[in-house]
């Protein structure tokens, strides 16, 4: 049970409501104007990918234009699947990568989904690394995604941020 001899307590005069009452009582002018910080957290609404109500082919066109502006490459889409883009994007951060043979080509899959009539979702998925001289990143050879367990999402987040900005600015 709790230790009866404990003298740990909360200082009453430090509670915000009591402090404010004390300050008002002292008639402090500034105190009248100062409002407490609103700590109600605006709940962040999360959703997969980015939404679009534009015509599907227009969305795909916008994405290709944005990818081109950002210097990314993509595989020629197959007739059967016009709504998936396999992207390869150079992500080099200075000469460091070359010296250390760090894979600097990130692969990404961008896919358009229909959620309901006139409501589409563009999904972005990380798809491994390649090195410039065409070697596959080790993620495809040695360990499957399942085994790979120290994966930094930041380069992927950074490139998708740039693509989303390009789309937002263009649109």
């Amino acid at each position: 049970g709790p230790d009866e001899t404990s003298t740990i307590a909360i200082l009453p005069s430090s509670l915000p409501q009591i402090h404010r009452a004390n300050m008002m009582q002292q008639g402090s002018r500034a105190a009248m104007k100062i409002t407490p910080l609103n700590n109600k957290k605006s709940k962040t609404k999360w959703h997969f990918g980015i939404r679009s109500r534009s015509y599907p082919l227009d969305v795909m066109g916008e994405i290709y234009i944005a990818l081109k502006n950002l210097g990314a490459e993509w595989a020629k889409p197959s007739e059967e699947d016009l709504w998936t883009i396999k992207v390869r994007w150079r992500y080099d951060t200075g000469s460091l990568d070359q010296q250390r043979k760090i894979p600097d080509l990130m692969r990404m899959v961008i896919q358009l989904f229909q959620i309901e009539p006139n409501n589409y979702l563009v999904d972005f998925k990380f798809d491994g690394w390649e090195t410039s001289n065409g070697e596959e990143g080790s993620s495809n050879s040695s360990s499957t995604e399942e085994e790979m367990s120290t994966f930094s999402a930041y380069p992927f987040l950074h490139l998708t941020t740039r693509l989303i900005m390009e789309l937002a600015v263009n649109s």
Binding site: K45, S149, T150, L157, H158, M165
Partner: protein
Amino acid sequence: LITSSIKHNTLCVASTVRYKSKYATQILYGPL
């Protein structure tokens, strides 16, 4: 990729990745 609506010219994207046997949702805020 998970995103939240652009507010105050700030973009917020996130991705949930497995780190060993735990799950980290890495959230990155960047300027639009």
